[in-house]
Symmetry: C3
Subunit: 206 residues, 3 copies
Amino acid sequence: MKEWIYFFDLCGTAVFALSGALAAGRHRMDPFGVIVLASVTAIGGGSIRDALLGTTPVFWIRDPNYIIVILATVLLTLIFIRKPKKVPQYTLPVADALGLALFTVIGAEKALNLGLSGMIAVVMGLITGVGGGIIRDILCRQVPMILRTEIYATASIFGGISYTCAIAWGLADKVALAVAMISALVIRLAAIKWHLRLPAFDLKKT
Amino acid sequence: MKEWIYFFDLCGTAVFALSGALAAGRHRMDPFGVIVLASVTAIGGGSIRDALLGTTPVFWIRDPNYIIVILATVLLTLIFIRKPKKVPQYTLPVADALGLALFTVIGAEKALNLGLSGMIAVVMGLITGVGGGIIRDILCRQVPMILRTEIYATASIFGGISYTCAIAWGLADKVALAVAMISALVIRLAAIKWHLRLPAFDLKKT
Amino acid sequence: MKEWIYFFDLCGTAVFALSGALAAGRHRMDPFGVIVLASVTAIGGGSIRDALLGTTPVFWIRDPNYIIVILATVLLTLIFIRKPKKVPQYTLPVADALGLALFTVIGAEKALNLGLSGMIAVVMGLITGVGGGIIRDILCRQVPMILRTEIYATASIFGGISYTCAIAWGLADKVALAVAMISALVIRLAAIKWHLRLPAFDLKKT
């Protein structure tokens, strides 16, 4: 894998580990519980992707750096964030958005690298991007972000489509990654900021 | 795979995608959320089956038609079903029952094709049949159907046993499939219609 | 695999199947629902481990004894435990603790056998030990044990660390297994008995 993609992958791991650790703190989990929730959030999506692709053992078994990044992130979180007041309201959703954008592109890149089609690459980006957060929300018994009406899966799908199109159009890898990541991130952050939502499919009985 | 089994597999994908899309509509999800929920419902069970069997990449990565069927089903659902009133009360459970019956037989068939025992084939039918619906219900924070007291897993297990016995007794594949699918479907539909349930194992403290 | 490890593995399967069956009884599930819940509890963690490691088909597909042990356990539970009063208050948590200790060591042992590092072995022990219980709790819509503040994941992580250290220090396999299992079990049982908990990471807004 290209070094800078690897670097972004570890960054995504750190921000998702942070988002898992913050969610754990809101549920008053003990330090080892924090490690578990940070881990499933950070490597859950990529693990599902690798298991479905059959590229096993999954990535974090082959490369211990992912676990080390998670442990370091949890340690720093436990040391430096001791009071709820120190966590600005938007920290968790913004960390989640950054991880979503990074992991979407990385998931799509891995699928294209395996010679899979653009459509499957978008799906793999989506699974990598939203998988960990869904597991985190289910374990915390919160409404999964993906269920809330704000734009979420949409941002990942748009990021994946941008990336695969950019690659198909012959853009340089770095440019494609930047374009796709920024588009997913901007869409998601705008959705958080202004509570944007697409028109809902509404079958709710009133 | 035989063509007509493939055809039934795509039918099962469509009805489970419909059931996922209807569930998404009840939670007012946006169109991309609908696609996600329809997809996990339609291909979740088979994905777990393939990951456990190690027949990876899982089926829908190898064959894009599954994703295409899901996208088409979601599109048609979004276009034609716009009001709750248009969805008769039993649409979701009946679609779910049809998918359950179809996927149970297909899961059992795949296991037998790999040379696995009848017992494992029944389990694989069960995982394929109920897996997607369980993920859908967990994501929607509903009581998983499998937890409710009505006959549900039972229908799938009976369907799987019928199929493996019919094959073991030397019935033609088509006959075995028809017998098993109809028996699972009839059991499940009867359970929906008359609220049939087996005697419960009751340790609830009162 | 060594015979006595295999024996312990089947014991762990039985106690986790019991814990799943008891949880099913509390939700008044029918006999086939009981089988499903007992099965996911007993083989869920190991299945995730094998899928992540890529040692597929997963263990219970290769060896039917696991399913047979589960079916026998469910049958005995259904026959002999008919009234809530007959289940002492601590039965479920103690069965869960025993399974946790057994499966942690077995998961770590399998990882070391594959030549993986001690760190990954601890993670594999954790996944094997807590995976099934988490799925059981999610299906039953209970707060996953791992989320509750009592020492839980911690017991598994300590057991895994004990085992990998004991093996690294050259202790005989049987001694290492006994030391690790007993340490995990004692930690967990003590936590149940005296409601021990580690200091929580508390970001709950009051």
